[in-house]
Symmetry: C3
Subunit: 407 residues, 3 copies
């Protein structure tokens, strides 16, 4: 943490104190931590994402969307590569009329001339209206948000900072899109007026089924410890009532859930269970039959030391891979998620699964675009203009879309 000595006092505070700095009057100024995603904010962002998705279906709706933020220019500062997050943010900006700019190669930047990172980011804030950043440095986005707050406090130019992945443990917009996918799936089309309700028919088979993220069993399979998306998503899900989480990992310390996250979840009231195969049994019933939502992950070999590499290479990964047979045992509605990319050599999700209706991972990727666009609408405070456009084009849909039916 000594990289930013002038911000050390701010960085030493509790998570709650730090979260507090990034919002104002219940609205985000910056998105730095997953913990900023309260259930209330998630509901609002998901409603916006729904409206954006619906408007984007036709030419006229697209024109309305592009008219929301045509006067804004974004900087995507991605010194840690990530094609998917990068392109998804690009598309989200373009949908809203925001012009995109990028700096990706750190060698291209002025850092070779010994410019400080904070000078670089302040330079970006001179030319652009939002900075979306992904970095190996754990605290960079947070520190930049403090710098922006300082500038704002002295009436100088300040812009929102979005953390698009920092260091090893924070990736709040991934948690946002995962939650959007979960909430959309567990809405069971209740908010749609144009289609018949699915919930009624599902309840014949699963009598206890409810809409929303509460009262569910979530399973996370694969590389739990090093997958920052799992950490962010599990933390956000822990806010909901009556949640059980299964962590299904190979027996290796670099992959299993760490004690820190486990106790955080249990303190929040989550029932946490660990397994070493997708075929295990819980309370006399195969876990595959009990899971309401299955989150698959890739073993992140790029983080391995040579020793760990050898150890993990010797593990049989077949208990952590999906197959047609395993998917057949799952509940008929249970979404299969994956933050992608998937490993085409290990094959934790073989391509045969792709055509199964439970395979939500491609839709999840596309949801990233809608969820990130919703975040930008929120940060630039154009929700009302979005709602106006939506009412104009879909007058009938309004009652349902604005009803708080998600939890």
């Amino acid at each position: 943490m000594s990289e930013f000595p002038e911000f050390q006092n701010l960085l030493n505070r509790t998570p709650e104190e730090r979260d507090q700095e990034f919002q104002r009057h219940g609205r985000l100024k910056h998105l730095i931590f997953g913990s900023q995603l309260t259930t209330e904010l998630l509901d609002r962002l998901c409603r916006s994402a729904d409206m954006i998705r619906r408007l984007a279906r036709d030419r006229e709706g697209n024109a309305e969307l592009r008219n929301l933020l045509p006067n804004r220019r974004a900087m995507l500062y991605f010194t840690q590569p990530s094609t998917r997050t990068f392109l998804s943010f690009m598309a989200a900006c373009q949908i809203l009329g925001i012009t995109c700019n990028e700096v990706r190669d750190p060698k291209m930047s002025s850092e070779v001339k010994r410019e400080s990172r904070t000078d670089s980011v302040r330079m970006f804030s001179s030319y652009f209206d939002v900075i979306i950043m992904r970095s190996q440095m754990a605290n960079l986005a947070e520190v930049c948000a403090y710098m922006m707050n300082d500038l704002e406090g002295t009436d100088r130019r300040s812009v929102p900072i979005i953390n698009a992945g920092a260091g090893s443990d924070e990736h709040p917009t991934q948690a946002l899109l995962d939650m959007y996918t979960i909430l959309r799936t567990f809405d069971f089309d209740e908010s749609s007026m144009s289609r018949p309700s699915r919930l009624g028919s599902l309840q014949k088979e699963y009598p206890d089924l409810t809409t929303g993220a509460a009262n569910k069993v979530y399973a996370f399979c694969g590389d739990i410890k090093r997958g920052r998306t799992v950490r962010s998503l599990a933390t956000v899900l822990s806010q909901y009532r009556n949640v059980t989480m299964y962590f299904i990992t190979p027996p290796h310390d670099q992959l299993r859930i760490d004690d820190d996250l486990r106790s955080l979840l249990e303190t929040a009231g989550v029932t946490v269970k660990e397994f070493e195969s997708l075929d295990e049994v819980d309370d006399g019933q195969p876990i595959l039959e009990k899971i309401d939502c299955l989150y698959m992950t890739r073993i992140q070999r790029e983080h391995n030391s040579d020793a760990t590499e050898a150890e993990i290479a010797s593990i049989d990964l077949s208990p952590f891979k999906l197959s047609v047979e395993r998917v057949a045992k799952m509940k008929s509605f249970a979404p299969i998620l994956h933050p992608f990319p998937r490993d085409s050599i290990v094959g934790e999700i073989p391509t045969e699964i792709d055509s199964d209706p439970r395979a939500m991972y491609f839709r999840q990727a596309r949801n990233g675009m809608w969820a990130r666009a919703a975040l930008l609408v929120h940060l630039f405070d154009v929700n009302e203009a979005l709602m106006d456009a939506h009412v104009r084009l879909f007058p009938a849909a309004v009652r349902s879309a604005s009803s708080p039916s998600r939890r």
Copy 2:
């Protein structure tokens, strides 16, 4: 071909069967092969390109063009570098209001995380509305088009694929822009109402001259075997009546036309002749005096093995280079084309030729922009909106532009 085992059955079919999959009701769904460019389709695309070119001349026409596809986002996936093709597609998209995104550096993409190429392309299709791709892998564009067809068949999101150069033998949009340049040149301004006809005066000197691509002598000079543009263009030209082709190449197996292409052309009715110098004679007349269109190429040294490099280095290339004297012998209307870049060290076209009215290579490059824009208009099915805009701004030009005078 074993790179895509799951698509092997599809790849094993005849060219005609494969072409068939990429169109529907006489309209292209994807452009993968040069053989999809029928004379009828070329006529339609060239008429669109003419309209786009005319509209792009002024501010009002440009505004009409940008209003054709403002709701579309393109992905330019160029893992094989090509500045010219890339920039020309960028400009074509921008003319039509399409927003561009790019992935060029394969190291930047998720392939380092062992994502399959098809997963990458499906991810692009989640965020973007057309994928323009150039790759070292011969079948990648074709396979991606099959994948899109599969998705469409099961009511999932599917987008058009454009092959912007694949492996060593296909570059259909280069053939398209070459044909646009040839058809524009051999139109002799017949379709223009604003200028006097050139054909009449040219016929005093060349009594047999006709408009259109038929009844012509085409010469290809330089690196025939390894220039995929020559292969694509010659194949497309073989559809026209009464065509003669001269292939003027150094005496080396890596440069001469291969038997495969030769027999394909002859089967289509083309008269094929080979020469080893631009100064040779055919039927008692210098070939330079008989050529109606001269297509120059660069010796592609980057494909050479060390042995071939040494052999080719020992060849005298002067018989394959233009000079002011040689150009002076050519017909007054005969266009000189070159797919560019030209080799500034070999100098197959010295810069002194650039100001000759027959030097069409810079205009040819600019035509790439109009022809590619016309292709995008076709794929997104906005021809009618283009024609409407053209009628609005150029009411007098309509009769000629829509008359089928090109062949």
Copy 3:
């Protein structure tokens, strides 16, 4: 200079003769040299920059600006890296509705296929409407401008060239933005109707103070010889009456002002004085108290030979660094400028200075965007449309903004 033998005659002429080729009827065709920035042109560009800045403040003004050049596409050809200049030009283009394209990696371009640089640039001119270029080759931008003039002379397509940094001594748009910052600062809000005049109150403390760039003491501190921005700016400033310049440099031949620039400035009537510390005295008074404008620079280590590196490393740089104490001695209005990036290790401007009202370097960076947008407005000849938009939105501001009060 033998890199462009065909242009050698043109390159051998006097600076005045060469400048003459890049303008027509008092308007720039290309911006290649700082010497093209006459005081009259600077006044016009600064007035435009003011209007653009004011319009960019709100959504409606932004829409007017984006409507000035939506039919134009720019190529940013930056083979010499420069994040700041690059992004500033991108933002300037985007403000005016210009679509941006870029070529930055020379390995990506056709040069690997032995295409000449002039062919590359002519290719860009086929697809794009202005070429903004930065290169290690001192004469490339100049030569490209000659090529464009040739094309124009023979009725072929020609586009404006902007030199965004060439070789070691020209960076005219940096001089433009520096001058815009200086003229804005020394306007003392006289042209603003909405705020009370600052000049009157300042004159109580500094009785000789006048508006404009004339009658001032400019100090340049740090790396004078190798900083092309200093050379360009000092030359432009030498056009104004009664100017004194202090050059404060470490005692090393690679850093001190060279005789060439010194005699050029003295011939133009500038009083030139050299110092070896910010704490020196001139005419019995500390120079810090006499400076009206302080231009700090970074020691450009990347240009050092190993020997020079060792010599410079042994120099004590503390006399050339700002501190709170030194700034406290400066005049209350005197702007501190820096072309950026600043060196975070040497610390020629410590971050404690950033909140001082005299610290203008971040505003200077942002001014680069307005000044470059003004240049584009000038080159594309849409000043009148800009003035019309400004009158529509700010009817009251017109009289002051159009009054020639800057000198």
